[in-house]
Amino acid sequence: MIFVSRAVSPYWDNNFWEFFATLGKRLMHMACDSGPLAFDELQLMVLICIAIACGLLGPLLVLKRMVMLANSLSHTILLGLAISFLVSSALFRTAGFDMTHLFFGALIAALLTVLMTSALTAVFHLQEDASVGLVFSTLFALGIITVTLFTRDVHLSVEVVMGNVDALKREDLQLAGYLALVNMLFVFIFYWPLQFSSFDRFLAASMGVRCGFIHTALLFLVAASCVGAFRAVGVLLVLSFLVGPYLTARLFFHRLWQLLIATPLIGVGAALLGVALARHLLTVFDMALSTGAIVATLIAVFYPIAYIIKISFQKRVIE
């Protein structure tokens, strides 16, 4: 089935450069009449949406020192999703991945993680890193077992970590698009409060910014982005999208608004190059590699390249 659709895909047998040529041609065409999306375009657009959604949250996460929490969230959404699926299939006899699952799964995961972590530190007097570690490993283990037991499918638990770009559907694009939109609106509307609360909590609080609300909303959006992205890239590579582009952008930009623009752009660039590269490798070397992994690896590779560029640039300035 997949092979048939690939054979009729306009990108069939394209290498790296031809991919972009075809993409450009199809974009021109699409301005006149909208035909069905080719598979590569679907992948590309989903990955771009994820890159935008995550790229907008990444700078805030790192600045607010919430990376470890995001890390544990990206694992625990599995349990949240499993619970939301179980409840919905038991109560309403519906199965399928849609907005409600996204919403409730993210909500359950975020609530469970944050409440348990803070309970462990406050009530049990554990160190913060220890409680984060304990909570996320326990919840992830529970999630894996629940998924294996109730879907009765061993491969799903592997797919959860790897992501599966080949199984994407139109609904996934819709989902990722909504996510990108919501995150954009969030950052746009709450730009000032976010800026204050990520650099100086006390100043922000004294100026009437509700740090608690901002913090909670950010956590929820991170959880939602993890859920939205996990079908495409899996629970772990979301982290790459969240943290990697920001760290690269940070080498060159130092203002929050610049960072908030540059970070998603770097992610989008990685997605473009990644999908083209995946097609190139398939065409030229006949290697079918996971597109999500390629994009995440590209994000990682961007950092040392950017670092070298920056160093050499600095040297030139000094000379």
Binding site: F124, G133, D153, M162, L237
Partner: protein, 400 residues
């Protein structure tokens, strides 16, 4: 740290097995050696990467950790997807390392992992003192020359080694739980490092054993239920679940630091304070009827009944002529409390507090002061006879 390094081991496993696939050695033992070697090298490389990112990239520590973890894992998945399309047989070898599986282990595995574990235990036993000094006070240990400078980096190597041992059974993603859960559980039962270490090892051992047993049991159960699916539960999640239930159990029920023990202690203290307040009230009036008692001591009725009953049983109160009055024992105890209260008031006024404000803190302190503190206080205040409100302070002889 353990989490990041165990994730970093994943590409090592994949690359090792891929290398093995190139050489076309199909045996499990061959791929095992390559996997171990690759995992070890990549974990070390990950460690170095984190340090470099923090130092040269000037990143915050948590971001560096996360970035390294995600990037290494992404690379691992990339190579894995290649392996899956090119050598599906070897890909199934790699998949085991994701969530762990012990069913396919052989004697060869046991020997290798046992040997590595023995190396770690040996090191811990030999270098126990320097390690202890290093972890409690880095500056002291390095200036006193207790811990050689390479010890810290060497213990990181051992951390990596323990990850390499664990990922076959527990899986790379959950391996960090194995570092945390047994340690948390052990910490609740003791304050001594050596005891904690042994306990943690024991908890780890138990969770490994029970987790495996459970996963095998459940898998056979499932295969009876759904014979056509060929389901098997991975061992890793089960092991982690057992381990963290040990941890949660210890956090709740350990006698010294557990939550229940703490709640019981708090309740006991509250009850004692209430008891002492009743004694004081009776002492001040010479005797008290039940309705008066209810008015002065605001307590839930059953609690009040219980306390009065308990004090009668201790022989501090007697019930006669519709009133509670103090026995000699009770008088002594009540007088001591009043003395503490008034001593503390004197002390606070000595410090310069206004007289009308000292009563409230004294109400609290009277339940806390120990006999030694009492002696020191009265000596320092020159054995006062009256408190700031011109009330006599009971002599010690009254209640000895």
């Amino acid at each position: 740290m353990g989490e990041a390094l165990s994730h970093a081991a994943y590409p090592g496993v994949v690359v090792g097995v891929t290398f093995c696939a190139f050489l076309e050695t199909v045996s499990f033992s061959g791929s095992l050696l390559f996997a171990i070697g690759g995992a070890f090298l990549f974990s070390l490389f990950g460690l170095w990467t984190i340090e470099w990112l923090e130092k040269s990239g000037k990143m915050p520590g948590d971001a560096a950790l996360c970035f390294m973890l995600a990037s290494f894992f992404a690379f691992g998945l990339l190579v894995f997807s290649y392996l899956q399309s090119a050598y599906p047989l070897f890909a199934s070898h790699v998949q085991i390392y994701l969530y762990g599986q012990s069913a396919t282990m052989t004697d060869f595995h046991t020997m290798i992992y046992g040997g590595l574990a023995a190396v770690i235990i040996l090191f811990l036993v030999v270098a126990y003192r320097p390690l202890q000094a290093m972890h409690f006070d880095q500056n002291f240990s390095s200036s006193a020359g207790v811990a050689p400078p390479f010890l810290s980096s060497f213990s990181f190597v051992l951390l990596v080694l323990s990850i390499v041992i664990g990922i076959r059974g527990v899986g790379v993603i959950l391996m960090s739980g194995m570092f945390i859960a047994p340690a948390i559980a052990a910490r609740q039962w003791s304050d001594r490092l050596s005891v904690i270490l042994w306990l943690a090892a024991l908890f780890g051992l138990l969770s490994g054993f029970l987790g495996n047993v459970l996963s095998v049991d459940l898998s056979t159960h499932l295969s009876v239920l759904f014979p056509e699916r060929r389901l098997s539960l991975p061992t890793g999640p089960m092991i982690i679940l057992v381990g963290s239930s040990f941890a949660f159990f210890s956090l709740l029920f350990s006698p010294k630091r557990g939550v229940f023990a703490r709640i019981v202690r708090i309740l006991q203290f509250r009850l004692r304070s209430d008891e002492e307040n009743i004694l004081k009230a009776v002492w001040k009036r010479g005797g008290i009827s039940f309705s008066e008692c209810r008015k002065t001591i605001h307590l839930w009725l059953p609690t009040l009944f219980y306390l009065l009953w308990r004090m009668q049983r201790h022989g501090w109160l007697v019930w006669a002529y519709q009133r509670y009055s103090l026995t000699p024992d009770g008088t002594r105890k009540a007088a001591r409390i009043v003395r503490l209260h008034r001593l503390w008031e004197v002390y606070l006024t000595d410090l310069g507090w206004p007289e009308d404000q000292v009563h409230r803190t004294a109400e609290e302190m009277e339940h806390i002061l120990t006999p030694e503190l009492e002696n020191r206080l009265s000596k320092q205040l020159n054995f006062p006879r009256f408190d700031p409100h011109e009330q006599p302070i009971p002599e010690r002889d009254d209640f000895r």
